[in-house]
């Protein structure tokens, strides 16, 4: 992928597909490193699936289609000298506290570091398809931070869905404005 924000979009869509009710994207940046954490309370992954997403060439006789979203993200992190870790608890293992936590660490001074790119576009795309899911976004960097919580927006919007085009356009401008004021 050309931008990390495209990987983030791809990974977070798995959370939505896993029936999460709450999704959190945190980007934590300092001079040297950038850490992306994506957390959801979806159905989680079993041992078998975890093995498969960490190594796309790992197969069992029952494996059908090989997903590439997580392997791409992992590669992007490892190319910079960083790493990707996944912790996941399935719904059957813990009916209350289930979900997935993906954490990717990047070294920004590596020549293979992929820039974050248009994260605002990624957020707008995600919010457009959230339905009843809540999304929290936090980006901290030296000298500032940006955040968005869709549950706050929903309170203001009432019965108007977040996916309304005019609402998405407002969120787009709102976030871009926050970023413009922070550089």
């Amino acid at each position: 992928m050309k931008e990390l924000s495209l990987n983030i979009l791809d990974i977070t869509q798995n959370s939505l597909a896993a029936n999460a009710k709450n999704v959190e994207i945190v980007i934590d940046e300092n001079e040297k490193t950038l850490r992306v954490t994506i957390k959801d309370d979806g159905r989680g992954m079993d041992e078998e699936t975890l093995k498969r997403v960490s190594d796309p060439f790992y197969t069992t006789r029952t494996t059908r289609k090989v997903g590439l979203g997580i392997p791409f993200f992992k590669l992007a992190a490892e190319q910079t000298g960083g790493s990707l870790t996944i912790q996941s608890t399935t719904e059957s293992a813990d009916p209350i506290n289930h979900g997935t936590l993906i954490c990717a660490l990047f070294y920004k001074d590596s020549i293979d570091f992929t820039p974050v790119g248009d994260i605002v576009s990624t957020l707008c795309t995600l919010i457009q398809s959230l339905g009843n899911v809540n999304l929290v976004y936090i980006h901290t960097f030296p000298g500032g931070s940006i955040s968005l919580d869709t549950s706050v927006l929903k309170k203001t919007l009432g019965e108007i869905p977040l996916s309304e085009p005019e609402v998405i356009m407002w969120i787009n401008e709102y976030l871009n404005e926050q970023y413009d004021n922070n550089v």
Binding site: L6, I160, E166, M169
Partner: protein, 123 residues
């Protein structure tokens, strides 16, 4: 500065519109947003469609939604248009510029942009 008050105003405005719109949403624009679609450029296509539907004033007739892999990865970004009583139209290798034209000519004007459809695209 954008503020939540502004969002509240959008809400007021939308409320009256949405009341009128009940049941009239008969065009569905669906964008493939799996790994293959995203890598091929589906994100700006999706965002352009959402924006143009609002800007060209067809939000009362059309909704934009996302789906997983449509199964024709080599043609991504793929956009499908479903309309009651009409055959599905599949657009392939879409760009934001093409998306604008699809909203203007197909969604607003009622005439599919044949040259962008799967049987006719230059690939």
């Amino acid at each position: 500065m954008k503020s939540l008050e502004e969002l509240a105003k959008i809400r007021e405005r939308m409320l009256s519109k949405i009341a009128l719109r009940e049941g009239e949403n008969d065009i569905r624009i669906v964008v493939g947003m799996a790994t293959c679609g995203i890598a091929a450029g589906a994100r700006p296509v999706l965002n352009t469609l959402v924006e143009e539907v609002a800007l060209q004033g067809v939000a009362d007739r059309a909704t934009v939604s996302q789906t997983g892999c449509i199964g024709i990865c080599q043609f991504e970004p793929v956009v499908e248009v479903f309309e009651n009583g009409k055959e599905k139209v599949t657009y392939v290798k879409m760009t934001p510029e093409m998306a604008k034209r699809v909203v203007a000519e197909h969604i607003k004007g009622g005439k599919p942009v044949v040259e962008y459809t799967i049987g006719n695209a230059k690939i």
